[in-house]
Amino acid sequence: MAREYETVIGLEVHVELATQTKIFCGCSTAFGGRPNSHTCPVCTGMPGSLPVLNKKVLEHAVAVGLATNCDITRYCKFDRKNYFYPDNPQNYQISQLYLPVCRNGYVEIETEEGIKKVGIHEIHMEEDAGKLIHDEWEDCSLVDYNRSGVPLIEIVSEPDMRSAQEVIAYLEKLRLIIQYLGASDCKLQEGSMRADVNLSVREVGAKEFGTRTEMKNLNSFRSIARAIEGEKNRQIDLLESGEAVIQETRRWDDAKETSYAMRSKEDAQDYRYFPDPDLVPVSISEEFLEEIRSRQPEFRTEKMKRYREEFDIPDYDIDIITGSKHMADIFEETVALGAQPKKVSNWLMVETLRLLKEKELDPEDIRFSPEHLAKLIALTESKAVNSTVAKEVFEVMFEEDIDPESYVEEKGLKTVNDEGALRRTVEEVIAANPQSVEDYHNGKEKAIGFLVGQTMKAMKGKADPAGVNRLLKELL
């Protein structure tokens, strides 16, 4: 009989913090600047430069720690991790090894198998590296230090997960907590959230863990799930054929759905960690903690409960809307501007989700403002535009966040409420389509649909279809 295996998974999740400036200098963290335009002597490792901790980074790290039930290290330190690579201008990364800011936390995840706690071993603060660009044409490598010194936290879980499903639930949970805190936008595709998967397998019932591998280059939930499946099977195949799993770092190739070894434990570098003498230890006071605690936002569970009480919208909608902090913000702000909750929810649930899916975007990518959505809803409510026009306007709004009022005005998309003009058009349509008129009179109800269509076409869509229908019946 085949042996049964259990998969044991722990995660190292890097999250880029949403600060205006870098962790140890005043340079901007904004994405997409000209190469090396967001740099200074500190983040390019110039001789004589010194790091100074950005307090915002500490605030975010502590907020995430509190929200994940961690103990906050009241006296924490930064350490240097020494390794040579050109993306790392000092050839050491400032990180935390000995006294990380948060320890011993957990989050609760929910899967089909129920609710489970996933332990958090630690959360530490560190700096991101620059970016190497290999120019094949010129046969050289260039380095851009705009990302160098962008603040990160690394959340290290305990090896508590047993399936891809649990891993995804854990990541979703972390992402929501962090987004709700405003500590990061957590976009996997853009790299503001990155997960490395530590995985081992063992026979069911075994007490010891198996030898683990670390999988890198996972930039979507889908690739994480596939990589877990792939690595689990690879390790089981090795064990089944009597071979050993080697402790190593592997890189996932999502296109090929396979991974390859990057480096084994034997070539693992000695990082020679030691406390960074340029930074003073951080003492976290009770007042500081209290302030961070008092600033903790309403998290998803509380928000869902409140929505159920306050808004008359289906649980399914509440689930989707609160599944993204950004979407929930848009929903609440639009409602606050006077729009009916049910209408707002409809726009988010139908058109927004459709466009996000079509364009392969995350809810965090939504760019239209609550003001504009509220205006669009008002335009439909007052029947100034019909629903077809409204959807067209929404698509433009989704792309460019235009003001629907002025857009409708400029493009002449307003429903014509001029009874005389409408009556004239209907009369013309009737005159031009004698066959359909005859069909209608012969009892073919469907013929009126064709006539409504012709009228809308002649009106360039700017008519209220119900009104046209009523008028046609009257004139026929």
């Binding site: 050491y92 960690y273 030691f274 340029d278």
Partner: protein
């Protein structure tokens, strides 16, 4: 009519005397700079105090400063005074080599905070002084740009690592200089060259722009002709700098107010451990004579046991080398400085660049530091050294419960002859015994000339104070200097 001063007469002035002469119209900042540049022209071929002399820029800046002095915009005691800066402090637009080949072409985009403070006060940078490569050494012989000779006797070393700065002050190739002190690198060359040198309390002078050697020990300080100059320079460069996390905000930086000739009741302790084996008898006699002079002027002097002195050297070389091994990683040929040619691939480029770019003493300390931080040895060496460091600090705390100042020699001997020290690095390291614990404990220490040996080589008296107690040091040193000058 302004009374003009003769240039050689001018060179003998202290920094504050020169400033006074400029303000009184007896000379100008430009004349002072011209005099210094002529002296460098005359002497530096022999002494090699400077790596870089910024002659034209210095003259142009001196002219600007002179205008500001005349307009009443610059009124401080260093306005118009030419200063030499150790070549491990960044100077915007001016070559900064750390006396290493690996930085042979490095021109910083910003100036060190201490240099900026001096420039704001109207001091004018002449150029950059020679040093032991990356401040690693005690003789200025590890420089990639030649040895510096001791102006008191050119066959002898000037000490180090701030040997170029000390020698430039002694040779009147500047009116004062900045040095940096990680284990004695200001005080020891000051002692060897017969000038005043002070290492302030850790955190008093910003380290921003100082190319780091041992970050937790490095401190910038003055090398001057007199204690009065020392106080004026320290008052100018001490600042709370938000760019340096280890910089301390302190209110008592009016150091010149301590220039008072009075040591009545001053409690001075001499560690017995500092007078024992290894100490040259002539140095010992000169230091004890200085102590007697202070006692004769009302100080209460006694000997005591400091303890832990023998642990200072291994502790220092463990911590400083560990920090240095990491601090010097950024010199890799990628972003600035020397890059080896004909390297196949990244790894070889790193290896060749660093093999060719660093000298033997720097490599020795990088290897030592990498070793003590490596996995499996960290606890046994680095962590243990940090614990001993804390114990050494405690021993000083106990001493300062009883004494206002600790008095002793700066170095066991006077300046050795050129070419004698590097062959036996351990012996060279042992020469740091009296200066090193001051850095480990973060304390201020000053070296004041207290005579010469039978060969005419200067001897330095070291006074050590409790943290933030520079004023007591300055007062004691000033009193000693004045009494010694007056011969009483």
């Amino acid at each position: 009519m302004r009374g003009k001063m003769d240039k050689s007469e001018l060179l003998h002035l202290s920094a504050v005397e020169l400033n006074r002469a400029i303000r009184e119209g007896k000379t100008t900042a430009v004349e002072a700079m011209e005099a210094v540049l002529e002296q460098i022209e005359k002497k530096d071929g022999q002494y090699n105090c400077y790596v870089t002399v910024a002659g034209d820029t210095a003259l142009a800046k001196a002219a600007e400063v002179q205008k500001k002095i005349e307009a009443g915009e610059l009124t401080g005691p260093l306005a118009g005074v030419p200063v030499a800066v150790k070549d491990n402090m960044c100077t915007e637009g001016l070559l900064t080599t750390c006396s290493s080949k690996i930085l042979e072409n490095f021109v910083p985009a910003f100036s060190a905070e201490a240099v900026l403070q001096l420039e704001r006060a109207g001091a004018v940078v002449i150029g950059k002084t020679n040093m032991d490569e990356f401040a690693m050494g005690s003789t200025t012989e590890t420089s990639a740009y030649g040895v510096t000779r001791n102006p008191r006797n050119p066959e002898h070393v000037p000490g180090g690592s701030s040997g170029g700065s000390a020698a430039a002050v002694a040779a009147e190739e500047c009116f004062f200089a900045l040095g940096s002190d990680t284990g004695g690198s200001i005080r020891q060359p000051a002692s060897y060259c017969g000038v005043v040198g002070m290492k302030p309390t850790y955190g008093t002078v910003s380290r921003y722009g100082l190319v780091a050697y041992g970050s937790s020990l490095d401190q910038i300080g003055p090398l001057t002709k007199t204690v009065e100059d020392c106080a004026a320079v320290l008052e100018t460069i001490a600042s709370h700098d938000k760019k340096d996390s280890t910089s301390v905000e302190r209110a008592d930086t009016d150091f010149t107010s301590a220039l008072v000739k009075d040591v009545k009741g001053m409690r001075i302790g001499i560690p017995r451990d500092y007078l024992g084996e290894g100490l040259d008898s002539e140095v010992r006699d000169a230091v004890l004579a200085a102590a007697e002079l202070l006692q004769a002027n009302g100080a209460v002097v006694e000997e005591f046991d400091l303890s832990l002195v023998e642990y200072a050297i291994p502790t220092y070389y463990t911590i400083a080398a560990a920090e240095a091994s990491s601090n010097l990683e950024r010199f890799d040929g990628i972003k600035y400085g020397y890059r080896a040619k004909d390297a196949a691939g990244l790894h070889q480029m790193y290896k060749k660049t660093r093999s060719q770019g660093f000298g033997p003493e720097v490599k020795r300390r990088i290897m030592l530091g990498s070793f003590v931080l490596s996995s499996g040895y960290y606890d046994a060496y680095y962590l243990k050294a940090l614990r001993v460091k804390a114990m050494i600090k405690k021993a000083f705390d106990d001493a300062f419960a009883k004494y206002d100042c600790i008095l002793g020699p700066v170095a066991p001997t006077t300046a050795p002859e050129l070419g004698r020290s590097l062959a036996d690095p351990i012996k060279m390291y042992l020469g740091d015994i009296y200066t090193i614990s001051v850095n480990l404990a973060g304390l201020p220490g000053i070296s004041v000339p207290c005579g010469a040996d039978s060969r005419g080589l200067p001897i330095g008296l070291q006074l050590i104070g409790d943290c933030f107690n520079e004023k007591k040091l300055i007062q004691t040193a000033y009193t000693y200097e004045q009494c010694a000058k007056e011969g009483n």
